[in-house]
């Protein structure tokens, strides 16, 4: 199901920066507000959805990113068809919230190395000073005028989500910026 055409992104190495396409990988968008939604989502995913702004929660290889007070992105290699069916039957079909498969909408690029934030700072209005020293934080912002979701798994290890139609353009921009480090 996930073997669709991804942009031609190959692993690149620059001084203190490694860029890599992490695809295919499942991504889900969860929306909901009430207590039953939180309980069901938490039980199925084995993760408490983070309610604190700009944070994330990761257990095994599934991460839940806070996107807004009633919206989260779930992604990871452990998401399979059974888990998606469980979410669908216990949340969507009971009208507790919405579950949308956004695997094909977003492209995941992993950036790691000491120069990650040097590159991002060239094209983003976001102040990375506090962000870069904190683990498991997430932010939605702009990079070279393109919407991105950033998730810092570990120090200087960042997952960048970009909409597929912008991904090739942003990939070229990131590479251009990385060459002049």
């Amino acid at each position: 199901m996930l073997n669709i055409n991804f942009p031609k992104i190959e692993k690149k190495d620059y001084p203190n920066l490694e860029l890599n396409l992490v695809e295919p990988i499942h991504k889900l968008n969860l929306r909901g507000k009430n207590r039953d939604f939180f309980t069901k989502a938490g039980r199925i995913l084995s993760i408490m959805l983070p309610t604190e702004p700009n944070t994330s929660a990761t257990i095994k290889s599934i991460s839940a990113l806070w996107l807004s007070p009633d919206e989260w992105m779930i992604y990871g290699k452990d998401i399979d068809k059974n888990l998606m069916l469980s979410l669908d039957s216990e949340i969507s079909k009971l009208n507790l919230g919405s579950v949308t498969d956004v695997s094909d909408q977003w492209v995941l690029i992993n950036m790691r190395g000491k120069n990650v934030f040097e590159v991002l700072s060239k094209g983003s209005p976001f102040d990375f000073n506090k962000f870069k020293d904190t683990k498991n934080v997430t932010v939605q912002t702009l990079l070279n005028h393109v919407d991105v979701i950033l998730h810092q798994n570990d120090t200087n290890n960042l997952d960048l989500f970009v909409r597929k139609s912008f991904s090739e353009h942003l990939w070229l921009w990131i590479n251009d910026s990385s060459r002049s480090l």
Partner: protein, 91 residues
């Protein structure tokens, strides 16, 4: 350029937001009973004052939530930010 404190995400650059015009304009309960002039007044007429103004903003490139801002249009100083449905701060 200025910084806006989104009530959900925190401080962000203005370029992440889109302005939604004047705040607290109440939709008429019976639009069909309005004259054309009254309807046009509701739809189009805005204060656009030089000074402190109540505005709606949307964090378009962040959490995509709407909220209200009290901003001085002459110097872009933001006096207060509050969520939709909340009353403006009295100070």
């Amino acid at each position: 350029m200025f910084i806006i404190t989104c009530p959900f995400c925190g401080e962000r650059d203005q370029s992440e937001f889109s302005a939604g015009g004047e705040a607290h304009i109440i939709r008429p309960k019976q639009p069909t009973e309005l004259s054309d002039d009254e309807w046009a007044d509701f739809l189009f007429m805005r204060k656009n004052i030089k000074g402190v103004q109540f505005e709606r903003w949307n964090h378009a490139h962040g959490c995509r939530k709407w909220f209200n801002v009290i901003r001085d249009t002459s110097n872009d100083k933001i006096h207060a930010v509050y969520k939709m449905g909340e009353k403006p701060p009295s100070d």
